[in-house]
């Protein structure tokens, strides 16, 4: 199956700033995360794919077609920008219906789909209120609603959790993941928060200063490692001292004790030391690599 979006050697230069430098990537079906710090080029890449801006050089394809005339592709694409884009004096019902109609849906279908989609995103009760009165979380949901109201195949969400507290972020990510998995809508989500991408996406593209530094399956970056991690509620220092005395090298990282390549004999020693010192063990498991580790790796 061809990639939904593909970029080949895309460069975008704004006067004296290089926003994207020789970017080559494919966006496949499913959930893809676009990770990068502010200014890494995430929004530029999205707006290039959408045909809102033009690349300085390079080629890109949308649904396997050259991205020159995006009108056809736009019927099957949804987009929610990073910034606020909702008219404050218009109700969500009015606006979502309008956006469905601009996407080409007939009037009655647009109205009923707007109602259904607003219910889906949890804005059932508030849909007749002017959107200027919404909280940040409700605005993010209304933005998602207008992006999916025409039942697109692919949705590009630029920082969909921006401005939300941890609980709000979690809810929003669950809603996005559920929408994607239950209804088969592929999503490209940008975020500067690794946790967001790690929790929801199957694939990841890491952008840094306008270039792709990593891309692949998220599971490939979060496999178990050879490091054993022991988390303690208390008594970590005593265990560390005792293990060092017995010749086992340890590192303390917060509440966790890390032991590289522990053998079966080492595990027996560790068990005995924990019993002897009476330390309160919270968790013992092979350490799972996180996406954060990608950023901790020393530059080649």
């Amino acid at each position: 199956m061809p990639a939904l979006l593909s970029a080949r050697n895309i460069t975008k230069v704004y006067e004296d700033t290089v926003a994207l430098q020789d970017v080559t990537l494919d966006i496949e079906q499913g959930m893809t995360g676009l990770l990068g710090a502010n200014g890494a080029g995430k929004s530029t890449l999205m707006t290039l794919f959408l045909g809102i801006i033009q690349a300085t050089s390079g080629d890109f394809q949308v649904f396997g077609e050259d991205g020159g005339d995006p009108i056809q592709a736009h019927r099957l694409i949804g987009y929610s920008p990073e910034y606020e884009c909702l008219p404050p004096n218009v109700s969500a019902a009015e606006f979502t219906t309008h956006m469905a109609r601009v996407s080409g849906l007939p009037r009655t279908e647009a109205r009923s789909r707007a109602t259904d989609v607003l219910r889906h995103v949890g804005l059932d009760e508030e849909r007749y209120r002017p959107m200027g009165t919404y909280s940040t979380g409700m605005k993010q949901r209304a933005k998602l609603a207008q992006a999916i109201v025409h039942d697109p195949q692919l949705v590009l969400l630029d920082e969909p959790t921006a401005g939300l507290d941890p609980a709000g972020r979690q809810e929003m990510l669950e809603l996005i993941a559920q929408t994607s998995s239950e209804f088969g809508i592929s999503m490209l989500i940008s975020s500067h928060l690794m946790g967001d991408i790690e929790r929801t996406c199957e694939r990841i593209i890491v952008l840094e200063a306008g270039g792709v530094v990593e891309q692949g399956d998220v599971s490939g970056y979060t496999t178990d490692t050879e490091t054993l991690a022991l988390e303690f509620d208390e008594g970590i220092e005593a265990v560390a001292a005792s293990l060092t005395n017995k010749g086992i090298a340890v590192t303390i990282e917060g509440r966790a004790l890390l032991i590289e390549e522990a053998s079966q004999d080492d595990l027996d020693v560790i068990r005995d030391v924990i019993v002897e010192t009476g330390a309160l063990l919270h968790r013992l498991a092979p350490r799972t690599q996180t996406l954060s580790d990608i950023f901790r790796r020393p530059a080649p």
């Binding site: 920008p81 909702l86 008219p87 019902a93 109609r101 601009v102 080409g104 929408t179 239950e182």
Partner: protein, 332 residues
């Protein structure tokens, strides 16, 4: 997806309490292209002017403007009706005619265009809604022209409906309605022509101003300022040129023994510079000038009506062109 609430009660299937959980569903129906998207933006423009789905203030603005532009027509019709019901001759009272009507309502039409017109473009820019249009099957110009047409529809209604009502009342109050239509058939064409020109003029000015700023208030002020500043230039420029010519003619008269200006009012001849600069007084050019073109010689304007028509056409083209240039594409 549906979830019956109570299933079977006493062995009978109960369907009344069935709740349909209509969350997200796939859509397999027709998907229109640019034409449908264009019409959707046009319809939304109409709803925006009417204030539908918006606050009370937006609804009131359109309603009040509509009443104000219809007001004089209703007044004239009422007076004429009142007079004829008492057997009076309506010809004896100087009731405004078609060619006078826009003189009464021009300022209301201008204010309506200045206040409501920019609402069709400026807020979308100010609230960053344009990128959402940019990712739909629509080109930037489709969006701008659909908005222009939406406002133009109201401008046409506001210019033509009162005049049409007036015409109807003249027809009905005449002793021979059919005779009135035969004698004044040209008025219908003139009402439509000047309505079209005036509506295009108002719409283009309002939307050009709105295309230049994301703030509605600035756009409103811009429309009014444009009309008044050009009028001021036209007025003062005309005064200066006329008095220059006046001085020159007096000087010429003093040096010539046959000078006979005497008590005659000094009148610049048709086609001189003062009259051309007077064209900048757009309300005059629009109303008296274009009226003289559409309503024939019943109104008087010193230069050929073609100059008026060309001035108004240049303003409409310039304003429309400004909007088109500003909306040639959505992004950078």
């Amino acid at each position: 997806m549906n979830a019956p609430v109570s299933g079977q009660v006493n062995g009978l299937e109960q369907r009344e309490g069935e709740v349909f959980d209509l969350g997200y569903r796939h859509y397999d129906g027709p998907r229109g292209g640019r034409g449908k998207a264009f019409m959707a933006v046009y319809d939304d423009g109409i709803r925006s002017v009417l204030g539908l789905g918006r606050g009370v203030a937006a609804k009131m603005m359109c309603g009040i403007s509509g009443l104000l532009v219809l007001g004089p027509a209703i007044f004239i019709i009422s007076v004429a009706g009142f007079m004829s019901s008492f057997g009076g001759e309506t010809d004896q009272i100087p009731l405004p005619k078609h060619e006078d009507y826009y003189g009464l309502t021009f300022i209301i039409l201008l204010l309506f265009a200045a206040i409501v017109g920019p609402a069709l473009l400026s807020p979308d820019k100010r609230n960053s809604v344009l990128p959402l249009y940019a990712v739909r099957p629509l080109k930037s110009l489709d969006y701008a022209i659909a908005r222009w047409l939406a406002f133009f529809t109201f401008a046409m209604a506001f210019t033509i409906v009162p005049q049409a009502l007036l015409y109807l009342s003249f027809v009905l109050s005449d002793d021979s309605p059919w005779g009135y239509i035969k004698d004044n058939g040209r008025d219908l064409w003139a009402i439509f022509a000047i309505g079209l020109i005036l509506a295009a003029f108002m719409t283009s000015l309002a939307l050009a101003a709105a295309s230049l700023t994301s703030r509605r208030a600035f756009a409103s002020a811009g429309v009014i300022a444009f009309v008044f500043i050009t009028a001021a230039i036209g007025g003062f420029g005309g005064e200066i040129l006329t008095s220059d010519q006046d001085r020159q003619e007096h000087a010429a008269g003093a040096s010539s023994s046959t000078g006979n200006h005497g008590d005659e009012e000094v009148q610049a001849p048709d086609g001189d510079a003062a009259h051309y600069i007077h064209l900048l007084i757009l309300p005059d050019t629009m109303l008296a000038g274009v009226s003289s073109w559409t309503f024939g010689d019943r109104t008087h304007f010193p230069v050929s009506p073609w100059y008026n028509a060309m001035t108004i056409a240049a303003v409409i083209a310039g304003a429309f062109g400004t909007m088109v240039f500003r909306y040639r594409k959505f992004g950078g």
